[in-house]
Symmetry: C2
Subunit: 168 residues, 2 copies
């Protein structure tokens, strides 16, 4: 579980950071304010790009902290600029990098309280497999889709990042 | 790894099937051909909904087969109607249901040939963690995003499906 989440989420968040750099370059080249992209959404009652990134980072730090028996670091959720959003991603990656595999020992016996449903909880395996992992990829993919829909030239490799293919 | 992929991918594909039912009802209520949705995309050079579902099911059967030492079932990739697309999802779920946890024994020592890169391979852990799991959620989320962008009233619960919350 550690390998499937902590280092892999850090990798994907690094990829997301690079996509935001491309978004900034795109805005400069086309002469529009990058905040247009940060506030873009795919449907009127869907969260905008900033909130997608906030939730993706929340899910990453939440899973890494809860499964290693820690309180997740608290963020202010007040990012408005590209720099602030990138800083949030960066500090999440740095937090993930502090969580070591051995801190996950016994993770599957933990009970995880659900923040937005006071009094409710899930056993850690259900929390991780059915909620946190799908949620993490859901919000990163939605961030990607918002950028892609607005004309940014990104592709699957930007999302997955580098893969170390070997010769058969 | 088995628990994180095979039964969970079957669950998510079941959710995707229900979203397609909602898409059909939406098309009927608004008096348009559901094929408009099946051929919708978020960017002109992105795959349409049919292809997103084809790839999501490919990734699911590919991972389940490769990690259990089997050849993945071959599909024709010729779905054009909602019924055909739902049938593809259903047969993928049925294949996943045939793969048992004990068939994953020793999965981490397998080498996985990459279909679209002849002569190239990844060790199974890198294939699963860095490629197949993110890809699966990427394509299901993109299918969701295409429907959401076209006005279908779906939300996160449609994507995640039922979670069995307990009292703390």
């Amino acid at each position: 579980m550690y390998e499937i989440t902590v280092p892999q989420f850090a990798k994907i968040l690094g990829n997301l950071n690079l996509m935001l750099d491309k978004a900034a370059d795109y805005a400069t080249a086309r002469k529009f304010d990058v905040k247009v992209l940060l506030n873009a959404r795919l449907a009127p009652n869907q969260f905008h790009l900033i909130r997608q990134v906030q939730i993706a980072t929340d899910v990453a730090k939440g899973l890494a902290a809860r499964l290693s028996g820690q309180e997740p670091p608290k963020y202010e959720d007040n990012e408005q600029t590209l720099e602030e959003l990138k800083a949030r991603i960066q500090k999440t990656i740095e937090f993930l990098n502090t969580v070591k595999a051995e801190q996950f020992n016994g993770w599957e016996k933990r009970t995880i309280a659900i923040g937005f449903m006071p009094g409710k909880a899930l056993p850690a395996p259900e929390f991780a497999i059915q909620m946190a992992i799908p949620n993490f990829y859901f919000h990163v993919t939605t961030a990607y889709a918002i950028l892609r829909h607005n004309g940014l030239e990104i592709g699957k490799n930007d999302f997955l990042g580098q893969l170390n293919f070997r010769d058969l």
